[in-house]
């Protein structure tokens, strides 16, 4: 007690950053205890992002709350023969925090909402990470390998199952399951 009285400015100087760390920790972790997302979502993953737009395959969309599939045909080109791309559909369970593959026939029975923001105000965003120029000039940048479910001051890392090695762009959100 005597030490604190004698060194009150030192104690304040050390306490202020510690209090801010506690405040940040509290504001990040506490809301997660009370607010949870409720709506699962459907997504599609292909084994290569480039070929997704340049192949002869299928394109998925939501029309009148149902999943529809249309065929994509590239113009014939003798010099370019894109490989056959395998697309897989997944349902993400937000309570279990895991993805499960689903067939197109089963997915057609789902009641979907293609809005980016879910009915309970959550959205899927990229994560962020430190910059690589250690330890100087470090700052934040987008981490394309991680995605989070974000809303109401809560963010939850998604354990997405992706079809292929690249994480960058082989995830396409289709809709929230109502």
């Amino acid at each position: 007690m005597e030490f604190i009285k004698k060194n009150i400015t030192l104690v304040f100087g050390i306490s202020i950053p510690i209090l801010m760390i506690l405040f940040v920790a509290g504001s990040i972790y506490l809301p997660g205890l009370f607010i949870r997302p409720h709506f699962n979502f459907l997504y599609v993953s292909n084994n290569d992002s480039y070929y997704y737009n340049h192949n002869n395959g299928y394109e998925y969309a939501v029309q009148s709350n149902r999943l529809v599939r249309s065929e994509m045909r590239q113009p014939e080109n003798q010099n370019y023969n894109p490989p056959q791309v395998e697309l897989k559909l997944y349902v993400y369970d937000v309570v279990e925090n895991k993805a499960k593959e689903i067939s197109f026939a089963d997915a057609q029975n789902l009641n979907l909402d293609s809005n980016v923001i879910s009915p309970d105000d959550f959205e899927i965003v990229y994560g962020s990470r430190g910059d690589s120029s250690f330890p100087f000039f470090w700052g934040g940048r987008t981490d394309y390998n991680t995605r989070y479910l974000k809303g109401h001051n809560v963010s939850k890392k998604l354990n997405l199952q992706l079809n292929g090695s690249s994480h960058y762009n082989n995830f396409r959100f289709i809709g929230w399951i109502k």
């Binding site: 801010m20 940040v24 430190g130």
Partner: protein, 323 residues
């Protein structure tokens, strides 16, 4: 030999005459009582000491460039030896030199090498262990390890260089830890959050500077006040662009800084307070008066204000801060 009562009576008389202060009395008591006080740079840095530190910084640069140029050629062992090995070796050489009063400053230069090179060594170890060594989590661990080592060394050896490194590593830990926590999602993740963290770190620096002003760590005061007030006013200035609260209180903060500069006798407060007052006048002139008065007249008013502020700076410095 005077009796205890005579000595106390004599101290009483000296205190009444304001010849001796409580701090001086405490220091004398601690010295007689063999209480360990910090080994500090109480004298001003001479040419030799400055060269020692420049040498330490050049050694650090050399090791960094060596590693950068030969990153793919060096094996893990060589990399660790060149960085972590050099850092630890520098630490013990510093300790050996610190034992002798004549080589004490050189010892601090070796501790400077330790503080700069060892984090790179830890980075190499983390990188080889398969961690993303540049991630905020790894940076928090590296800065935490370095902070622990410096605090322990400060506690045992009471050297001011460890106080400096403890402050620097705790600043790094503060930023990397908070970034790691918010890295889970993107809330807070914008420049505003960075600015508020700089503001908090700056306030902590100012308070530490004030706490150290009357003890053996007083040589760190200038550094802490300088970076603290620059960070505080700079961040408050930037926040004022987007937030009306900061815009409104900013003049109060600048004049408060100028007032404090006299009170705590700090040239850093006076200099940065003056510079940020000038910046504020230029800002409000360009934002609010350039369209109404027109640019030429606004510039004349801003220029005259600058001259007035410059005069105030010199007067305050001459009257209150000149030795």
């Amino acid at each position: 030999m005077a009796t205890k009562e005579e000595a106390l009576q004599y101290i009483k008389t000296l205190a009444e005459q304001k010849v001796i202060s409580k701090e001086e009395l405490d220091a004398a008591f601690n010295s007689g009582n063999r209480i360990k006080t910090d080994i500090v740079l109480t004298k001003k840095l001479g040419i030799a000491e400055i060269l020692y530190y420049i040498g330490g910084a050049i050694v650090f640069l050399g090791i960094s460039i060596l590693l950068w140029q030969n990153w793919s050629m060096f094996g893990f062992g060589t990399k660790v030896l060149a960085t972590l090995g050099s850092g630890i070796a520098a630490y013990f050489v510093g300790l050996l030199f610190s034992r002798d009063e004549n080589t004490e400053a050189a010892g601090s230069a070796f501790h400077l090498i330790f503080g700069l090179v060892t984090p790179i060594g830890l980075w190499v170890v983390f990188d080889n262990a398969g961690f993303d060594a540049s991630s905020y989590g790894s940076q928090s661990l590296i800065s935490g390890i370095m902070l622990g080592a410096c605090l322990l060394s400060l506690f045992v050896f009471r050297k001011n260089i460890f106080t400096l490194f403890s402050i620097l590593f705790s600043t790094w830990l503060f930023f990397s830890l908070t970034s790691w926590m918010i890295g889970r999602g993107s809330y807070f993740y914008d420049w505003k959050f960075y600015q508020y963290r700089i503001l908090v770190a700056a306030i902590a620096y100012i308070l530490l500077g004030h706490a150290f002003s009357k003890n053996e760590r007083a040589p760190l005061q200038g550094f802490l006040y300088g970076f603290g007030i620059f960070g505080f006013l700079g961040t408050a200035f930037m926040l004022g662009y987007k937030n009306i609260f900061w815009e409104l209180i900013y003049p109060g903060l600048v004049f408060g800084t100028l007032f404090l500069s006299v009170h705590i006798k700090s040239k850093a407060f006076l200099t940065w307070g003056t510079l940020f007052l000038m910046a504020y006048i230029l800002k409000i002139t360009s934002r609010y008066f350039s369209s109404g008065l027109g640019w030429p007249l606004a510039l004349v008013i801003a220029g005259l204000s600058m001259i007035g502020i410059g005069y105030m700076f010199l007067s305050l410095k001459k009257k209150y801060l000149s030795v």
